[in-house]
Symmetry: C2
Subunit: 445 residues, 2 copies
């Protein structure tokens, strides 16, 4: 936290101009700088300029007294949520089809739904609801899977862009073990990816492409190789799935017999940390695979709701944290049933407690650790995102929890109650990179 | 489902009078008669007379054409929720204090909060919110623990009575291993219980007393014996806790060395099915304890949110169902963090999937099974409650899910989406024993 300092004359003049651009957000500020505890500033100020945090102040420095103050009173001011693994086209299936495990679930529910996204108007209708609901739940950044369809993927990117929200959006690449209509050649995948890269590859936009081979069983060596080259050539990040389900892992062993493990299969194609990479699930990751993730800086997308709903298992997040892996939280709809990353935090703590119950030598996640995963840790994939430290993008939520705060609760307990009991009704304002984000429109077609 | 029948002349005359009293609720009716599947009647009718269901009809029988029809259009009409294990005085701690296991959690958070209920005005303020929130979440019947305090327990009973909602309310009995101010003699416990029994013991009210020894570690043999006698003497049901946590079980073994197992300890004092009995948790129940529960018809209150939050474990509900145990669902606040029994259903399915993941010879709970547990199975503790079969109390919710139902969803998928994604915003009306229940007032003191 920056302390007040004395203003020099020259600095004062320059400051006067700066103050016109600066905003100060006042409220009860809570965030995590590191996992072990919350930073809590009662009635504090966050300075924001050019969309970035310039400082957090317990007492307003005199030199900033001319800046506009937006006063949120007794409300909570927290970093916005980051969802590092979410399937946008599974939005319609949210909360249904919970009766199968991963592989038959893909065949019976997921692929048939994704086929519909050949129709751009269907994509508009569903994706606009998806983006609106991310907004509703306070998620300002997402690493999203689209489908194989270039045009529908562009629809999703445009919706994020219009909303002003940050996203890595991946046109999914796959060419085996899927319905014919979702199958494409590696050459077609490269062409379609490059078209989107040309359009959205610019460095300064909030919405960017990400190379997205679905997972090893859906991609031939040709396709994986093409994806790895795209990532390297354009310096683009990668997202995929890893070690989610034991049957899937056995299948990958058959499909990629030369690879030492599932992760190594991606690694051999330049898809495992050669550029920034998210791997979803990693429930059964251990040993050499874990070590490779650590070495390569691959981020785990921990998706505990999905992992329970699909009977996949419970990822050992404490082990991953102790090993120094990068980790974020993912809603993974529609494997997960809830877009709210706050609710994913609750499940993350609970799942870690089930590990702890079996092995009391470990410890379960504290709330500040879960919050850190959802904000600063997951947010790091999107840049300086997820904290209120100086230089971070001002991605923030104003939480009006008066209905939950009817007794004398501490600020940390107020946050905890909002996370456990609250919902979108308490999220009063949302900011992404310093801009207040209004409710995105739904396209009714 | 009753089919239309021809009306005889005499029957017609009697019917005309009956029709004045009868109401027909029209809507999309969903309920479970047995665990394996839903009964689904699109645009059907439920006849209700004297608070009880007289029949469910696909087509309105001619002989009922004079009865008042309350038409809920395209909305869903489902049985109300039953919460078979909830601690009313832990309402203030909901969503906080999730950092300890059962025994230290009781000492550090639960008991200090319960001490406050010596103050009746505090009880009014908190209990009125608790009852209002049960109402909000569509729970029309609850088996609730109060505290040791007679006057505060009466406050809770009165709040349920005024609301028109059904409840077994237990003055908690305990006399060891708790703060002095929550300790009482067995004689005092008997006297206070009897006072409440005299006041609320009548057969026809919705609100009734239930004998509530907290759990073995809190009750000396004297106290347990006194509780067993009270239950027998007044023909009252019993509720307590069983085999929740491994440290607790080890402690009970020390405290009750003559008992074969934890359940047997209750059994020896007449507190294990001698009168209708609910035992919360039963995570580690197996072998002889399980067999005794089955033989004695003791109901398991399955509380999966609480069991995860307190690092207790995951109860083997499939095993219990296969063994023919009686089971209901409990929110168990504030071990559990959510009063919504719909959300407890979600966790019940998920926990069963984690068992299935480890042992594929078993099967996980289907949605209809979870729904059945929350309605007909749990409801059976309160009488003929939890179904729309003839003779059942009309405990019902009207679900307006239009916001979730933006595409062509089947009725079962609409219900599933409401359970997984919905909240109190979709619960439009609530009925308990045929009476529409209005929002209970909150006492601000």
């Amino acid at each position: 936290m920056r302390k007040e300092r004395e203003a020099l004359p020259l600095e004062s003049i320059l400051m006067t101009d700066r103050l016109k651009e600066m905003k100060l957000y006042k409220g009860n500020i809570i965030y995590t700088q590191e996992p072990k505890h919350f930073e809590i500033i009662e009635n504090g100020y966050i300075g924001v300029e050019d969309g970035k945090v310039t400082g957090v102040y317990e007492v307003l420095p005199e030199c900033l007294c001319g800046a506009e103050i937006i006063d949120w009173g007794n409300k909570l001011l927290i970093p916005a949520m980051n969802d590092v693994h979410v399937h946008a086209p599974q939005y319609r299936n949210l909360g249904i089809a919970m009766d199968l495990e991963l592989l038959p679930w893909l065949d019976n529910y997921t692929f048939p739904e994704e086929v519909k996204y050949a129709d751009v108007s269907y994509a508009k209708r569903m994706y606009s609801r998806f983006v609106r609901d991310l907004w509703r739940n306070g998620t300002m950044r997402a690493a999203a899977f689209a489908t194989v369809h270039k045009e529908s993927t562009r629809v999703l990117m445009e919706l994020f862009r219009k909303a002003g929200m940050g996203a890595y959006v991946g046109k999914v690449d796959m060419n085996r073990n899927c319905p014919d209509s979702l199958c494409e050649s590696a050459a077609d995948a490269v062409r379609d990816n490059e078209e989107l890269i040309m359009e959205y590859g610019g460095r300064d936009t909030l919405v960017k492409p990400i190379i997205t081979p679905r997972f090893i069983p859906s991609c031939t060596p040709d396709m994986l190789s093409a994806c790895g080259k795209l990532a390297q050539q354009y310096g683009l990040p990668v997202q995929s799935h890893l070690s989610e389900n034991l049957n899937e892992i056995a299948w990958v062993r058959e499909l990629e017999p030369e690879s030492k493990n599932y992760g190594d299969a991606y690694n051999r194609y330049g898809l495992f940390g050669q550029t920034p990479t998210i791997m979803a699930h990693c429930i059964w990751t251990e040993g050499e695979e874990l070590e490779l993730m650590r070495k390569n800086g691959v981020m785990v997308a921990h998706c505990p709701t999905s992992n329970m709903n699909l009977s996949s298992g419970m990822a050992p997040i404490r082990t991953f944290m102790d090993a120094g892996l990068r980790i974020g939280l993912g809603s993974d709809i529609s494997g997960g049933h809830d877009l709210s990353i706050f609710k994913v935090m609750v499940y993350a703590v609970e799942v870690s407690k089930m590990h702890y119950q079996r092995n009391k030598q470990t410890s379960f996640l504290s709330l500040s650790e879960a919050f850190w995963l959802a904000t600063k840790s997951g947010g790091s994939f999107f840049g300086k995102v997820g904290s209120f430290e100086e230089g971070y993008d001002f991605d923030a939520l104003v939480i009006d929890d008066h209905e939950l705060n009817y007794d004398h609760y501490s600020l940390q307990h107020r946050l905890e109650r909002f996370i456990y009991l609250g919902d979108d009704r308490q999220i009063e304002r949302r900011y992404c990179r310093g801009i207040e984000i209004e409710e995105p429109e739904i396209a009714e077609s």
